[in-house]
């Protein structure tokens, strides 16, 4: 038995009990065949009266009941083993946390945890009982034969080991060839899948029809090769079959002759005839179940490989209290201060640090935009603040308390939010399951999501995902924002702006909603677009895991709606503020700057450009209203370095 599965069966009481019952029933039913043979031989030879048919029927009945018990216990064993493995796999993945190593490919894991474990069924409910029976019944048959007729017992004793021996010999001879052939077979399946997946490409170049003949030809060639190997591989089953049937002939013919000579009684002869095949049968059964069982072993290996894999459990992110459904009107919160002290983060197996010696203080209520190229470390910083990652050096303090211990309740909007295959409402109340329908709707309204949700077939009760409605990228983003709004107790906002372009309506809505969401909270926003950067009162540029510039923009006048003009002026007047710790961005080419300033005067005086576009929020800042110098630190640092 698979040693990890054995360990599992030992440690889980339910599994242990059901497996033991299943195996015991199988072995007992196997032994009852001996009793059945005894009675049948007695009746047929006339040694027992016809009345002996009653106990025979009872034995048959007992075998039937044992079969029932075995089958039901097997069902309980397989479901219990699968449940235990699933539980352990999923708990393991939870402990590894969202920042788990990417080597656990998600798709494979979903398959393994679901359908993959079903491969254990034939192993547990077919192969294991057959092994137990093969270990007991042939020996019992031999013992009975020895007491009945020594000569026949010797023939069986001599031929019985031939089955495993020949099986092993043929198996060894053909193993490599057979395995190669099965691999080739799965490759053939792979080839077909490959062609089907690439069909759009083939179609584009007019090669789709031609490929049908290739499929045929490859399959034919493959079949010819497979049949050549199978001719040898199937020899093992030929040997098994021949050993079993020839030994029956070897037993039957001498018995007949001895009966003729009068040295044997009919009852014994019939018993031998009935029992001899029962010595071989369990071994053959075991052989036929072997192949399917090996798939189960492979599945078990895969599952235990995930369970035993190296990987440090991530710190459990500070969970939100379920009671966070404070009314949206009066959330009691106080924006916290976030402090990073010499933080270095390194992903397992990577030489370079994702964040290197980063120190940063974010004041309560401050809105920080993180900018930089992809891979620079922006998302790592966000994940660090979420507690998904543990720093290698340094510490992260929220209001002076260590992150893990603090009552830190950030609202998080990831770059590509995952929407769950449940209703829209349940998606929105992810962080506060107790939220009322009114609170959910209020959150959706705040995130500019109520419009499209109302148009869904069942409104807020529409189930999302594969089998439900599909939302566009922009709509998904707004549902994620609603999630954040539905967490009124959250005292900070961590947001990763999507890099992909969204439709205009969504983009404007997201910027407007983010601005509202950041109100009264400490906000850290990974930003890609000027309108988003413009929400911040501090812009931090990250490159190669380090902060390369950190620039404060003075608070805008109280009314955010005048942001466009104030943004321009503040950018022009305060360029030096950017050079706090950053190096001048030397790559900034002068002609680029000219391009910006060249387009700036054409800026419309307000309103929404793009006549066809329907802005859901007329107040939404529009990027064309904003001079780039106002928020792009690299430009202003260059300006500071060159022109002043």
């Amino acid at each position: 038995m698979h040693k990890d599965l054995l360990r599992l069966a030992r440690s889980e009481r339910a599994v242990r009990r059901h497996l033991a019952l299943c195996l015991a029933a199988a072995v007992l039913a196997g032994l009852l065949v001996l009793v059945q043979a005894e009675l049948l031989a007695g009746v047929l030879s006339g040694r027992f009266a016809v009345a002996a048919l009653l106990p025979l029927a009872l034995v048959v009945g007992a075998r039937g009941v044992l079969g029932l018990v075995q089958g039901m216990a097997a069902g309980r064993t397989t479901t219990a083993v699968k449940s235990v493995l699933r539980h352990r796999l999923l708990s393991r993945l939870r402990d590894l946390g969202p920042a788990r190593p990417t080597s656990h490919r998600s798709g494979e894991l979903v398959t393994l945890t679901g359908r993959g474990l079903d491969a254990l069924d034939p192993y547990l409910n077919g192969y294991l009982p057959s092994v137990a029976v093969a270990g007991v019944v042939p020996i019992a048959v031999l013992v009975r034969l020895l007491t009945a007729d020594l000569a026949s017992a010797v023939i069986v004793l001599v031929t019985l080991p031939l089955i495993p021996v020949f099986g092993a010999l043929v198996g060894m001879h053909t193993k490599a060839v057979t395995e190669r052939q099965w691999r080739a077979l799965s490759r053939l399946g792979g080839h077909f899948l490959d062609v089907v997946r690439g069909l759009p490409t083939l179609r584009a170049f007019g090669r789709a029809r031609y490929q049908a003949d290739v499929i045929r030809r490859v399959a034919d060639e493959h079949r010819a090769a497979t049949m050549r190997t199978l001719r040898v591989a199937f020899l093992s089953s030929l040997v098994l079959e021949l050993a079993a049937s020839l030994s029956l002939a070897l037993v039957a013919v001498p018995i007949g002759l001895r009966l003729l000579g009068g040295t044997l009684d009919l009852s014994t002869a019939l018993l031998v005839l009935l029992l001899a095949p029962e010595a071989y049968l369990p071994l053959r059964n075991m052989g036929t179940r072997f192949h399917a069982a090996m798939e189960g072993v492979a599945a078990a290996d895969q599952a235990f490989a995930v369970l035993d894999a190296e990987g440090e459990p991530a710190p459990r992110p500070a969970a939100h209290g379920n009671a966070s459904s404070v009314s949206p009107d009066g959330p009691e919160r106080r924006a916290p201060e976030i402090r990073l002290e010499n933080v270095t983060v390194r992903y397992p197996g990577r030489r370079e640090a994702a964040l290197e010696d980063v120190s940063l203080v974010i004041a309560p209520g401050e809105r920080v935009a993180l900018v930089g190229e992809s891979g620079a470390g922006k998302s790592t910083l966000l994940h660090l603040l979420l507690g998904f990652l543990t720093p290698e050096h340094g510490r992260v303090l929220v209001d002076g308390a260590h992150l893990a211990a603090g009552a830190w309740r950030p609202a998080f909007v990831p770059q590509r939010p995952h929407l769950f295959a449940v209703s829209v409402a349940d998606n929105i109340r992810l962080g506060s399951p107790g939220a009322t329908p009114e609170e959910v709707r209020a959150a959706a309204r705040a995130a500019h999501a109520d419009g499209f949700v109302a148009e869904l077939p069942e409104g807020y009760d529409t189930v999302l995902g594969e089998r439900g409605a599909n939302l566009s990228a922009g709509q998904r983003q707004r549902v994620a924002l609603a999630r954040a709004f539905c967490l009124p107790g959250a005292d900070a906002l961590l947001l990763d702006e999507p890099t992909a372009r969204l439709d205009g309506r969504s983009e404007a809505a997201i910027v407007a909603a983010t601005r509202d969401l950041a109100e009264g909270r400490t906000a850290v926003i990974v930003a890609h677009r000027p309108a988003m950067i413009d929400l911040a009162d501090r812009v931090i540029r990250i490159a190669d895991g380090r902060i390369v510039s950190d620039r404060r923009i003075p608070r805008n006048p109280p009314d955010d709606r005048d942001l466009s003009t104030s943004g321009t002026s503040s950018g022009r007047d305060l360029p030096q503020a950017g050079a706090i710790s950053g190096r001048p961005d030397s790559e900034t080419s002068p002609d680029r700057r000219i391009a910006y300033t060249g387009t700036a005067p054409d800026r419309p005086t307000g309103g929404t450009p793009g006549a066809g576009r329907d802005m859901s929020d007329a107040d939404a800042p529009d990027i064309s209203d904003i001079s780039p110098d106002g928020f792009d630190d690299s430009v202003s640092t260059a300006q500071g370095g060159e022109s002043r």
Partner: protein, 598 residues
């Protein structure tokens, strides 16, 4: 009879013969022993002795033959099924593409035919033949006993399997959704782990997984119970039939020999019959798979093939799109809502707009992968109107490889006032011969780089392939990896940038009269995307090109830019014109410039 049919008959015969030999072996052995007990002369036993030995030897040989022939048939049948499925998939289906997961399930479904034959049909035939033989033998020896046997065999071989099949069909209608539910919950837990952790909902999601698992386990235990009951009833049917046969034989005064032969052949005749109940359970899964395959084959193609397809004349083409409306499914808002566009030879037009604006749908309509609801796409052999002011046509003659078309063009080409060919009158294959290129989601086949490229130009020589590689700026990579290195899943991995360049090289090698490029810089990082776009704009200079993109860098070079939003053209003009006016294009242009480091 086809070869497959012959092999199938052979496999069935061998399988039945193996079971009959087993029946003969036990029957002749029983006769030999009981007859010998009556102590007849040795000669009376000689036939039986020969019979025992012959049956014992041939059983194994027949079984071997059955397994070989059976696997041969199964492999043939699978190959045929796959070919048929593939041929059914060749015409483009509905545009909402089948996901990778669904595709692999479809490919798995083709194994069902193999199962149907090897695990369904062959054993069923062997069981039927064995049962009939045992009953026939019984009729000769003792008709009453034969009837008991027949009844027992019908219970085990017909009633039980059909009962199991009926119950399993009902149950699997509940098990399948429970499985899907579990898979969905697990997928949520894995893919949504960041969202769950951030909102403190991981434990709730884990609990949902376990609930789904528990529900599935209940159903699976139910199915195990059904199977266990079937196994129990099978054992009872076999044992009680033997008891019944012996009882009938004893009471009707049949001799010891006849009774023993009847009892033992009855016992053995159940051996191929008993597995039928389990086979019936498996066959419900098989029939579901076969039904899915039939559904795929029955799905009508998205585009109807014209009855008398027109050929597109050779030479440079003007593409004229007028008021095109495309709706992916009735009831949904149109993906394209009245788009018009003219692409004259040698000009390059770029389509930009947010995701979901209908850019790719436009290309799909041009490639005849979707049927427009209204509006026309016409192909004119030369620039409509006077041809003097048209941009320089590409020097390369299009006649190569299309002799028929050149003739066609000559016959009509004189007047130059052609109404052109309506794309609806053109077969989809022909449409893609003239308008194709770099499509969405280009695919790397598990084959050498050479074969991966050559599929776009099977007749291309080494020189032309090298040229395409050079123009796609792929030559350093190809030199390093080699032309014959296998690519794809098991082979060398291909990065996103290399994949797009391979797709570009394919498009350039194919060299269609109208080159379509769909998001060539999709999924690339900024630096790679910039380099690729620069090379691409360089390589397409002077070609009739339609470029779909979401990045604007380099579009100064194209002749016209069309901005699509919600299936409608909202802006059109050159780069210089569009950056002067407020709107989507200028917004995007500025934002792109600002975020970029350069």
């Amino acid at each position: 009879m086809s070869r497959t049919g012959k092999r199938l008959a052979l496999a069935m015969a061998a399988g039945a013969a193996a079971e009959l030999a087993g029946l003969g072996l036990i029957g002749s052995a029983a006769w030999l022993i009981t007859r010998a007990a009556e102590q007849p002369p040795l000669a009376a036993l000689s036939v039986a002795i020969v019979g025992v030995r012959a049956f014992a030897t041939t059983k194994g040989v027949f079984r071997y033959g059955e397994r070989l022939a059976g696997h041969d048939v199964a492999l043939r049948a699978q190959a045929t099924t796959r070919e048929e499925l593939y041929r059914a998939l060749v015409p483009a289906g509905p545009l909402n593409q089948r996901g990778a997961d669904l595709l692999s399930r479809m490919v798995d479904d083709t194994d069902a035919v193999q199962d149907l034959l090897v695990r369904g049909l062959l054993p069923a035939v062997a069981a039927l033949v064995t049962g009939l033989a045992a009953v026939t033998l019984g009729l000769f020896l003792l008709p009453a006993a034969a009837l008991v046997l027949l009844a027992g065999l019908l219970v085990a071989g017909v009633a039980l399997p059909s009962g199991v099949a009926a119950i399993t069909r009902r149950r699997s209608a509940r098990i399948a959704p429970a499985r899907a539910e579990l898979a969905a919950r697990v997928a949520d837990l894995l893919h949504g782990s960041a969202d769950l952790a951030a909102y403190g909902a991981t434990d709730r999601a884990l609990a949902a997984c376990e609930e789904a698992d528990a529900r599935l386990a209940v159903l699976e235990r139910g199915q195990a119970r059904v199977n266990a009951v079937a196994a129990c009833l099978g054992v009872l049917a076999q044992g009680l039939t033997v008891v019944g046969v012996v009882l009938v034989a004893q009471t009707s005064g049949a001799g010891t020999v006849a009774t023993a032969v009847l009892a033992l052949t009855s016992l053995v005749s159940f051996e191929p019959v008993l597995p039928m109940a389990a086979a019936a359970e498996r066959m419900t899964g098989v029939s579901a798979a076969l039904r899915r395959l039939r559904e795929v084959r029955a799905t009508p193609p998205a585009v109807t093939e014209p009855e008398r397809p027109e050929r597109v004349p050779g030479g440079p083409l003007t593409v004229e799109v007028e008021n095109l409306v495309v709706r992916h499914s009735p009831g949904r808002p149109p993906a394209l809502n009245g788009v018009s566009l003219t692409l004259t030879p040698g000009r390059r037009v770029a389509i930009v707009g947010p995701s979901g604006a209908g850019k790719s749908t436009l290309l799909a309509a041009l490639m005849r992968l979707v049927e427009p609801e209204s509006g026309t796409i016409r192909l004119h052999p030369l620039a409509s109107g006077s041809d003097s002011d048209g941009p320089p046509h590409r020097a390369k003659a299009r006649e190569a490889g299309s002799d028929g078309t050149s003739h066609h063009a000559d016959a009509r080409g004189a007047g130059n006032r052609e109404p052109g060919v309506d794309l609806r009158e053109v077969s989809p294959d022909e449409a893609r011969r003239v308008m194709t290129g770099l499509t969405q989601d280009p695919y790397v086949f598990q084959a050498s780089f050479r074969d991966n490229l050559r599929l776009a130009g099977p007749e291309a020589g080494e020189e032309e392939m090298a040229e395409a590689v050079r123009r796609a700026r792929l030559e350093t990579w190809v030199e390093r990896t080699g032309w014959d290195t296998p690519l794809g899943e098991d082979g060398r991995t291909v990065s996103g940038g290399q994949l797009q360049r391979l797709a570009l090289a394919r498009a350039l090698l194919n060299d269609p009269p109208v080159l379509l490029l769909d998001e060539p810089a999709e999924a690339l990082d900024e630096e790679t995307a910039d380099a690729l776009m620069a090379d691409l704009l360089d390589a397409t200079r002077g070609r009739t090109t339609l470029l779909v993109t979401h990045r604007l860098r380099g579009l100064e070079e194209v002749d016209e830019i069309v901005v699509l939003e919600n299936g409608v053209v909202v802006q059109r003009g050159t780069h210089d014109e569009l950056v002067e006016v407020p709107g989507y294009y200028r917004d995007l242009w500025r934002s792109e410039a600002l975020v970029s480091r350069r």
